[in-house]
Amino acid sequence: MTPLETRVLRGIGAAPGIASGPAFLLEHQRLRVVRYQLEARQHDDEVERLREALVDSFDQVQHLRENLADRHEEPQEILEAQAEMLRDPQLLEEPSRLIRGESVNAEWAVAKMLGQLRSMYENAEDTYLRERGEDIDHVGRRVLRNLAGQDALLPNIPAGSVVIAHQISPAELVQLHRARVVAVATDVGGRTSHTALMARAFEMPAVLGLKDVFGKVDDGEMVVVDGLEGEVVLSPTEQQLARYQARALRLAVVEQELLKDRDKPSVTLDGTVVHLMANMELAEEVGFALDHGAEGVGLYRTEFMYMERATLPSEESHMVDAVKVFNGVGKLPVTFRTFDLGGGEKTSELLRIPSEDNPALGLRSIRLAFREEGLFRSQLRGLLRASAAGRMKIMFPMISGVAELRQAKSILAECREELVREGHAVAEKIEVGIMVETPAAAMIADLLAKEADFFSIGSNDLIQYTLAIDRSNELVNYLYHPLHPAILRLISSVVNVAHVEGIPVSLCGAMAGDPLYTLVLVGLGLDELSMPAAAIPRIKRIIRACNASEAKGLAEDLVRMPTVLEAEEAVREMMIPRFMVDIDEEQSWELERRPSSGSYPAAPGPRAKRAGRTAPSSGRGEER
């Protein structure tokens, strides 16, 4: 056999992690339905064959359900619905009529009936309904497999395989999980598909939406799935494979080790508490966040509500989503940021934001909220209606002056009054805070602090606006640096004046999740750091191993360092030998890969080799 050429395919990173193994091609979606003519005397037997196939299918789904751990509620519901379909008399009666009326085989009859239903869904105008058509496919495939006398449970898949399929149903993913399949890659599916959600719940690396991975992979071919980057490498070279495997192993070992501290408090040796929170955008991520020791959600991005959909979200959908989050986190606090749309990268087609020469300085975030006040109110009303279900905080993005904060608060107060008048339950006390991400807000933090309950520093935008650097411009993004003394001074002064007014300050940009900056941020006096949940264990390990006093010393030195290069050297000298020997540079870059925070590039010098990875990418953009 000639060695296959190395190919790299890009899809949607639906569940993070890296895994490699021999490809296992799931062929079932190619089940062909053949029509054949029966004789009249065969009708009864054929109907009976169908009945048995439906019973078998139902039993299999029930069996899957029973074996599913309780915490996976979402798949439970889906399987329950599939079971309900399988025992619906209509699924027997209609095809039976066809069998008798047209003398056709059961496969053909079932496929015809489901095909009609399926095409109705395919043509539905509503995006949600269109996606739900998949449920019908999954049921149909199972029945057909049973009719064919095949075991509808998947074939024996060797543990350690990477499963390649056109499509994988949630029920199948359960089986793959149990068969100890290490990763999946599929032609279709998106980040919000049920299959993606389940892959994340099972922490099984998944790249979906590869369009034609199924047609490109050979059975048994070595495959690497990088669920973080959304990349699938076919027939990697030995060096590539070794590198991926080493990385995967290192990640696993390190993760295990770090997770030992999960339930321990995030406090320095000398007693300073720094709360570690998760950044999130999907309610389904809650389990993962809690598993990594998050003390709550420090930044719940709501932009996702406006993505991948045909209509603008209703008040109800905001409420439903928020309640879902609360159901997951229980009594822990959740900070919902009102929509931070616009600004170029996250524009939804639904909003019809006029094209702007300079979107970062244009109609975005809170400015858009004021212009599209109806949209803003519907979000606020939805959030407020969920507020009684948990500890809700509301945060406004891109505030640049006190007037904006007042206006937003007054709209919020009006919404609350309306809801109370209409008889809805609204929480007594909801803390209202702002993102400090414009230099203006940082400069007048003392004034804002008198009217806000908390601050959250959005370091990514604060850096971009303060240093006047467009993160996405490769000609200048080498200047984008968190350790610029201007940034450190701004953060320090925001924290100080906030503390004078007695309000807490969080930081939720990429800095928060990068272990290189943990000591600096502790030293600057942040009360809370909010980051991708996967980063929490490592950051906690550092906090638990340092003294706030030394951190303060470091921060005081840094704000006086004349150049970024010197500041960076000082930080690296302090951090790497003590806290970061077990990770390579690459990883620290991967801790924050979420779209709206982007990633910041390397300064020229010691870290320049990262340059290849620095183009800020919008994960959302790729999904659409």
């Binding site: 619905a81 239903l117 109705m120 869904y121 949600y128 209703s314 109800e316």
Partner: protein
């Protein structure tokens, strides 16, 4: 059971995802608890309210008006309960 036990109510699908698989399941499971025969109509299309396939074939996104009709002894309670299922978004909230 007598034929005069008949109840009917109009509802609007208020959950954002519409009457897709899971809500349909929710509806059918509730409907099946009643002895009354249950029909659900969307415009001209009428389906059996105890059949998930039937309900799914209605293709009812958010905002769709549905008429629920029950016939049988517990008809009144059936429509009341089923209307509540629809109004409560098929249990999609907590």
């Amino acid at each position: 059971m007598s034929d005069d036990q008949r109840a009917q109510i109009d509802v609007v699908v208020v959950n954002e995802m519409g009457l897709h698989t899971r809500p349909a399941k929710e509806f059918v499971q509730t409907a099946s608890r009643f002895g009354a025969a249950i029909r659900v109509a969307k415009g001209e299309s009428v389906v059996n309210g105890k059949s998930i396939m039937g309900l799914m074939s209605l293709l009812a996104p958010m905002g769709t008006r549905l008429t629920i009709t029950a016939e049988g002894e517990d008809a009144a309670e059936a429509v009341r309960t089923l209307a509540a299922v629809v109004n409560k978004r098929f249990g999609e909230v907590g």
